[in-house]
Amino acid sequence: MAFISFDDNSISKPSIFVSEQSSDKHLLDALTLVVERGAQSLMILACSANQHSAENLLSALQSCPIPICGGVFPSVFFADSKLDKGFIVVGFPFIISVTSYSLISSHINPNASKQVDGEAIHHSRDLLVFIDAMTNTTEFFISSLYEAIGGGIAVIGGGAGSIDFIQRPCVFSRAGLIMNTALVVQLPVSMHCAVEHGWEILSGPYLVTEAEATRVKTINYLPAFDVYKALIEETTAYRFSKDNFFQVSQNFPLGIVGVNNEILVRDPIQMNNNELFCVGSVPVNSMIYVLSGNTEHIISAAENAGKLVGKSSGNDPANSLELSIVFDCVSRVLYLGEKFPLEMAAIQRGLGAKRAIVGALSIGEIANTARGTINLLNKSIVIGNL
């Protein structure tokens, strides 16, 4: 358990507290310490393995004197160290504005542009988004957010939760550790972002002839899984068996190619009745490709993301917190396996040694596309430089 800070005497830099301890008490103690060091707002990235109790944390979070944001993720990381247990607490030297939105279906306004009150969000403030990945209204909320705030605002975020896909409280705010919630955090400083994934086209295009939200029913008028299985088995050595769908599909995500050749990755995580279930929606009539990756490309994409964001932020330490926030898809860990530390090293290389890097392995990432819209991404890495 340790404080890591760039400049202990400076109140203009963030305080970062990293701990491999998993208890509620340790977390609360850490929050107190960070607050005592003069932080004006807090970001908590905690591991799902900690099994934090919402009940135990409630009163302390509610009585916290400064704004809180954050989430519970499968893993978190600081610099090139991944923690599968423990937490990171970032004490920002500024006040963040946190708005939470209920994602319970019955609370959702069917008129997307009215779900999020655009006027409540300051037009010049970039945003962090923490969202409960286990709700089925995640994408709807993200669309609503964009429809309300419009372009010109940098947004990054990640889906919180655990990889057993059981819904638990996973979003930290001053209301407690809660679920069915999206947290929109307005930053008083500008943020520069980059998105990469490193996946490449294996075959396609194919026409999605029948789909409903995240469920792809038919491709080229044939059952989706049949098409998917046939082309993978024809072009690679992978073979689908009764119970290895996920292990195989992790290597072959779907990609929706936009008009400007931007590939939006969709991760097929489940197969049922010859239908593919993805993380994120696949529109009917969209052209999709089957993607494949190789370790080298995937890792190099992570480094590239670091470089890209560094380039756009100008790497000016005087006007910067020297802090990078990373949301890296948990499925990349599953894909890279033991080689994941190479990805973390690549990120650090890309960003440069001077920067503090905090991040989480997320279930779905959120970021602006090149055209400004906000998307839910799969198998991607998003970096925001503050």
């Binding site: 997307a112 655009g118 669309s143 419009g150 931007e262 529109p283 969209s286 090149a370 055209r371 819209t373």
Partner: protein, 598 residues
């Protein structure tokens, strides 16, 4: 792209624009539609003009905190597009591409993107926008139909409401009450229960209308209606039956008649409480009271009888001047039947010429005949001894008084003409003919008088009409106008029964009348009754001040006469001088009075 699946214009376009943003990699999409003055989208088949385009929708709604609807650059893109008169056009600013497309006869859509949409894709959009235009048109037609149906439904609801509700008070009207009453009677019969109908009539409400005007009267009726609604239970019907009459129908009062009556009594007490609570209209406080009657029913009765019975009971309460509601009993119907029979006999009397006139001579202080009051007599064996005080009020309650009054006036004129032809004594000035309130209220009353005078050829300067003080109170303005007109043709006016009402002295002064008849109640035992003397003195003084003669009615003794003389009253009528005389007797008296020695 699925277009036109729904018929809601906004939803359809919103859905299309979302798909377009996602599928064409747009940053935003903006729709401008042709609109009318109310900014409602319209189908516009003429040559497009920028002024008729209105910003309809943008997704997202804003950029950097500013609504797209206020974005001048975007509006310029649309104007330029319209001027270009082409299907699509492109503009570049703020490092973005703005591609606008025509939606035929509906408007313009603008897509914002990072790179320009490929020409092949643009081309493929043309049929899509044509389809969008058709869908817009379908939605607009649908929406106008929906609006029309909605308006029709509203109109139907309004008509249905109007058909069953009173326009002023918004209470149920007579028609709805009848329906509800029928249902209540049926239900009581089926379920062996009792119901009740309370008939409420506001007392003296007409005076409020006459004095303060109908606007105030209407406000009071509305307030009363509101208060009555507060008294009613959810299942009760509160209705305005007409004018100042209200009805509350209590449809379900249980299976015990006694309990039902108790419930009705409780309700009527509450009604009384709420109605008698002073009410304020235009900063003035009004005290309203009411008379109530009710009938309890249990089925096997006609709705009209229930209403009639409650009405009768209400009249009974009014006649008894009692506040507590009166329950109907069959003796009331008997009374009404008797009254109806009486009215029938009166009608026959008129038809069979059973009425005659007699004359109550009037004298001056020297015992000269100065005039006479015409009195009505009913020459029917059954009614010969009945005073007009019995049958005139009954006739007044029906329209019969008009026919009787006309007959009296015509006959009086005819007989006066005979007297005039025979010759009247020099002292004789006027023949007084009584006129009822109803006669005065007739629009053609003046014409009737003129016709009677003309038909008889009588000298109208010897006719006085007598009107009671109470008539004056109720319709002073009308009466002043009417008397003035009568004065112009020579007919005079006397105020009868003076002192029994509350005439406004201001109006009395303006009334073109020459005679006040002091009511007999102040004359009786005037020599013994100091109070009557004081009143008489006051009336005499009033007459002097207003330059009106005072005639004392009901003089029956020498003592009374002497006292009146002493007080300064010099005109009289009463049994002391003469009992009422038949025409022949009166004519003889006149002839005698004309003799030099008389």
């Amino acid at each position: 792209m699925a277009i036109g699946n729904g018929l809601n214009l906004n939803e359809m376009l919103q859905s299309f624009m979302r798909v377009a943003i996602a599928r064409l990699d747009l940053s935003s999409a903006h729709l401008f539609l042709f609109a009318n003055e109310k900014q409602e989208p319209i189908h516009f088949s003429e040559k497009p003009v920028a002024g008729q385009l209105s910003h309809y929708m943008s997704i997202p709604v804003q950029y950097l905190g500013v609504s797209w609807a206020k974005n001048e650059g975007l509006h310029q893109v649309v104007c330029d597009h319209l001027q270009s008169n082409s299907f699509s056009s492109v503009a570049y600013f703020n490092e973005k591409v703005y591609q606008s497309f025509c939606i035929p006869e509906q408007g313009v859509i603008v897509f914002e993107s990072v790179i320009e949409i490929e020409p092949s894709i643009k081309k493929s959009l043309e049929p899509i926008f044509k389809k969008i235009a058709l869908s817009c048109y379908a939605c607009l037609v649908h929406e106008s139909l929906v609006a029309e149906i909605g308006a029709r439904k509203n109109a139907e609801n309004t008509i249905a409401h109007q058909a069953s509700h009173d326009e002023l008070t918004q209470l149920f009207n007579r028609r709805a009450l009848t329906e509800n009453l029928k249902n209540a009677i049926d239900s009581c019969e089926k379920n062996k229960k009792f119901g009740a109908l309370i008939f409420i009539d506001l007392n003296q409400f007409k005076s409020i209308n006459d004095v303060m005007g109908h606007d105030v009267g209407d406000l009071i009726l509305k307030e009363v209606a509101y208060r009555l609604k507060g008294v009613a239970r959810g299942k009760d019907t509160v209705a305005r039956f007409g004018g100042d009459e209200f009805i509350i129908l209590l449809p379900d009062l249980g299976g015990c008649e006694q309990v039902a009556e108790q419930l009705v009594n409780k309700t009527t007490i509450r009604i009384l409480d709420v109605i008698e609570e002073p009410l304020m209209v235009d900063d003035l406080i009004y005290n309203v009271s009411c008379s109530m009657g009710f009938d309890i029913f249990s089925g096997l009765v006609s709705f009209s009888n229930v209403i009639k019975n409650a009405d009768l009971a209400m009249y009974e309460a009014k006649a008894l001047r009692q506040k507590i509601a009166v329950r109907y009993d069959s003796s009331m119907s008997e009374k009404v039947n008797i009254r109806s029979a009486y009215i029938s006999e009166l009608k026959n009397a008129l038809k069979n010429n059973e009425f005659s006139l007699c004359y109550q001579p009037q004298y001056d202080v020297s015992h000269n005949i100065i005039g006479a009051e015409v009195l009505l007599r009913w020459n029917n064996l059954k009614h010969i001894n009945e005073s007009p005080d019995v049958y005139i009020p009954i006739a007044e309650d029906s329209e019969l008084i008009l026919a009787i009054g006309d007959w009296v006036f015509y006959e009086s004129c005819r007989q006066l003409k005979i007297l005039q032809d025979f010759g009247l004594p020099n002292s004789f000035k006027k023949l007084s003919i009584n006129v009822s309130a109803r006669q005065l209220g007739q629009e053609n009353f003046f014409d009737t008088i003129c016709r009677a005078i003309e038909a008889s050829g009588v000298n109208p300067r010897q006719i006085t009409i007598e009107i009671t003080e109470n008539i004056l109170i109720n319709r002073i303005h009308d009466v002043i106008t009417l008397i003035s007109k009568l004065n112009n043709i020579g007919v005079d006016c006397a105020i009868d029964d003076f002192g029994t009402g509350y005439s406004s002295l201001t109006y009395l002064r303006r009334l073109p009348s020459s005679l006040i008849k002091m009511d007999r109640s102040f004359v009786r035992d005037i020599h013994k009754d100091a109070e009557n003397r004081s009143i008489a003195k006051m009336i005499i003084a009033l007459g002097e001040n207003l330059e009106m003669d005072i005639l004392a009615e009901g003089v029956e003794s020498a003592e009374e006469l002497q006292c009146l003389k002493d007080l300064g009253c010099y005109q009289y009528q009463g049994f002391y001088f003469s009992h009422p005389l038949s025409f022949d007797q009166f004519r003889t008296l006149m002839q005698q009075s004309c003799l030099p020695d008389s």
